[in-house]
């Protein structure tokens, strides 16, 4: 009850500030208000969720979703009186679409911070020992789930098209569109994985395997995705040939990100050892640096290609390098990051929630199509994990729960969905596919953490993390 009252009070304060806002101020000024509102509101909702044995991050996401622009667009505004609406036109809803765009900057910072943590949780010796298992699970998941979603949607297209367009799609368009759908549907969320492991203080084979598979899946999907974009553009656009240099650029992008990230990890460890003070400031500036590096374009010599570095990969590599090659030097940094993690998670997942697009659920046929993909994906993940798990000889105590741990989706999937829409902006199917994918992420972002938390608790791994805060230690 205390939480609900606090959330309502907070919403009223922000609502009042927006109603009485000074007409002379610009959008960016309101962003500060939004940041504070999202952080506190998400935290309170998370506590509310924790009270009913649900993951806190589902609370953070739900709060973002409730105050974000998507739900407003679906008709929430009809609940307010006309006079208030008229006043609010300058700032609807509590978090507007423009603010969500402004808040992306915060999101990039948070992604870097979460990725450093995720990298710091990966122990190379354990990973090398489990290499075969992880590789097999990763590939089986990506290929199996993507294949199943692709196959079912393709087969159903004549009867119940999952991607609906005004004009009929060519076979090639269908292949490419469903290819993207399958590939992106097979993805997971490393940020959700790391946040939930931290929240549940979980450690054990399920937590470690989930984290490693999730990160490796992300890398694999990014590679396949880049290749599919290149092939897709070559096949659908007569003016764009499939180019080997494009694939080379993708390789350089991934390799460059990992190498630079590892190098920055060493620099950060050196810095921490020599500076020791103001680590919070240092962490924020470092994450800002990762985010900024990700926005730069670098020309690849001898080609017409430009590459841009992946902040997620860089930060991941930096965390992994620090934890595995400079463990003692970097310990204070990981401790600082752990202390900062709760505000970051609250803000990051609330912004992710505000970004989710629920418009697909407003149309019955689209909602049905999304429902079909959700079911097919769930069956696919369950079947693939069960089958591969048996073949690999995974312990039965946690094997049956692994598929639940591989259901959440969030940030990376959202980014890939946006990229597809941008890359094929002229195609009639891109918008429909984008909406469908955003709807899928909304479902998996909300339901996934609940399933994952249940898996961690029922496997007995929750609460097993040592006080140092690192898995496996």
């Amino acid at each position: 009850m205390k939480m609900l009252v606090s959330i309502l009070l907070l919403c009223m304060v922000v609502f009042g500030a927006l109603l009485l806002r000074d007409p002379g101020i610009d959008q960016r000024t309101i962003t500060a208000l939004s940041i504070g509102f999202l952080m506190l509101g998400a935290w309170l909702t998370g506590r509310l969720f924790a009270g009913i044995k649900l993951p806190r991050i589902s609370g953070y996401l739900l709060f973002g979703m409730l105050v974000g622009p998507s739900l407003w667009a679906l008709g929430a505004e009809s609940l307010l009186p006309a006079v208030v609406l008229e006043k609010l036109q300058r700032g609807t809803p509590l978090i507007s679409s423009a603010q969500v765009v402004d808040l992306r900057f915060i999101k990039y910072l948070a992604i870097s911070l979460i990725a450093i943590t995720a990298g710091g949780e990966i122990h190379l010796d354990w990973l090398l020992k489990q290499g075969k298992r992880i590789a097999a699970l990763t590939l089986a998941n990506v290929l199996g789930v993507a294949g199943l979603v692709f196959g079912v949607c393709w087969a159903l297209h004549g009867v119940l098209p999952v991607i609906r367009t005004d004009e009929a799609m060519t076979t090639m368009q269908l292949v490419i569109a469903y290819g993207f759908l399958g590939l992106i549907a097979s993805g997971n969320s490393p940020s959700v994985a790391i946040a939930l492991i931290n929240e549940c203080r979980a450690d054990g084979p399920l937590s470690r395997t989930t984290l490693a598979v999730t990160v490796c899946k992300d890398l694999t999907i990014i590679v396949f995705f880049a290749a599919l974009i290149s092939v897709g553009k070559g096949l659908l656009d007569e003016q764009t040939a499939i180019s080997a240099t494009f694939l080379l650029a993708v390789g350089a992008q991934l390799g460059g990100s990992i190498l630079l990230g590892a190098l920055l990890g060493l620099v950060m460890a050196w810095f921490v050892e020599h500076v020791r003070g103001h680590l919070v400031f240092f962490v924020v500036v470092s994450c800002f640096l990762f985010a900024l590096l990700g926005e730069q374009k670098f020309h690849m010599p001898g080609t017409d290609q430009h590459i841009h570095l992946e902040p997620l990969l860089m930060a991941l590599a930096a965390g992994l390098t620090m934890r595995n090659f400079r463990p003692k030097r970097s310990e204070p940094l990981f401790k600082t990051i752990e202390e900062m993690s709760l505000p970051v998670y609250c803000l990051f997942f609330a912004v992710a929630g505000a970004e989710l697009d629920l418009s697909v659920f407003a149309v019955a046929s689209a909602a049905l199509a999304a429902g079909i993909v959700v079911v097919v994906r769930a069956v696919g993940v369950w079947a693939v994990v069960t089958w591969t798990g048996k073949r690999l000889g995974l312990e039965p105590e946690w094997r049956g729960k692994l598929w639940l741990a591989l259901t959440p989706q969030a940030g990376v999937t959202l980014a890939l969905a946006t990229l597809v829409v941008q890359s094929f902006a002229g195609s009639p199917w891109a918008g429909a596919l984008g909406n469908l994918l955003l709807g899928l992420v909304a479902v998996h972002a909300m339901a996934g953490p609940i399933a994952y938390r249940w898996a961690l608790v029922s496997s007995g791994e929750a609460g097993k993390m040592a006080k140092s805060g690192s898995i496996g230690h």
Binding site: K2, M3, S6, L9, L10, V13, V14, A17, L18, L20, R21, D22, G24, I25, R28, T29, I30, T31, A32, L33, S34, I35, G36, F37, M39, L40, W43, L44, R47, F105, F271, H274, V275, G277, H278, V280, F281, F282, V285, S286, F288, L289, L292, L293, Q296, E339, M340, S341, L342, P343, C346
Partner: protein
Amino acid sequence: MRLLIGLTILVTLALLASSQRFYRWRRTRLGAALTTGGWLMVAIGFAVGPFGANFVLPEQLLEVEPLILFCLGWIGLMVGLQAHRTLPRAVPGSVFALTGIDMLLSVLVLSATTLAILAVFDVAIMSALPVALLMGVFGAGWSAEVRSLQRRVHDADHVMPVIRAAAGISSLAAVAVYGLLFKSFSIDMLDGITWSAWDMTLGVMISLGVGMTMGLMGKWLMSLAGRSEGEFLVVLLGLVTLTAGAAATLGYSPLLVAALAGAIIVNFTGKPLQRFQRVIIEAEQPVAMALMLVAGVLADPRLSPQAVSLMLALVIMRGIVKLIDQRIIRRQMKIQHNPPALVGLIRQNPLAIAMAVGYAIAPLGRSELTPLSGGQVVMIVVMIGVMAEAFAFLQHGSHEQPEDMTP
């Protein structure tokens, strides 16, 4: 790419600033003079800004306006935390009298000087009034940092607490007056700059209302957070950002509203208060550093003859006001000669930079209807501060230094 290079330079400089060698240099007289007021950070900000290497542009800084507002909110909260209910009993009445006289003299003398100089250059009184009043507030008070003076001057130990206490109270007063002026003036393309008593009254009422609401909310949320460090950090960061953001959204001063919230927290919060104060004070240096950097980037050195004349006149007039303050202290404490520590009164209150940054990013500071742009106001405040610091450095250096120089 330029921003990236700029940031890399800043990180490298921060690295150098954290080295043992730099730490030793900070303990020298020159090092202390440059670093205690944050002038080195202002210089670095200026060096990477549009009038230096052009790595960071003011427009890019405004992209991170929420971060600047957060810093202002933090500073405001820190100032407000000084307003404990025991303050009137803990501090002698003479200190309050000194602060009151200094504030009154500063606002009257410096505002009149600004109005007079701008009138010479044919600026209408109404256009000049907001800048004039703000210049008066910026000139009030002095730096609360007295350690660098205390190390060398044992005979002035009894003056130090007075300087420090008066600096703290004058910060509270400056934030209050600044907040009062913040919303009293409105800009309209047709009517120009107008002043309204109603807007000022409403501004005070709303600032009080928002500050009190935020303070009470902070107290309530802190009790919910309990002993968890992570949850406490969420409350602290969320509260500062929400308070500063709400004030800026409504068009009021984030410094004043946050200070009011701080005053409520310090007077009504029980056990968690110590932790709250500790975290707030621990982060003072990085927050101040960030604001000084921002000031350096925002500072616009393209000063017109009217701005240069104004700056020089303000330096002189502020010096005269501080001489009067020195006399008041001597009379209050019955001291025959000026103890060297009283030189500290000349040094500018670092809060003036925070207030100038707050003005520069507010609609009034960005308006073309004012005679000085926000960037020029920041530049003038920085220059007055630097000149005051240099004067204090030379004055203090001219006194005999019989004490051991080693820390």
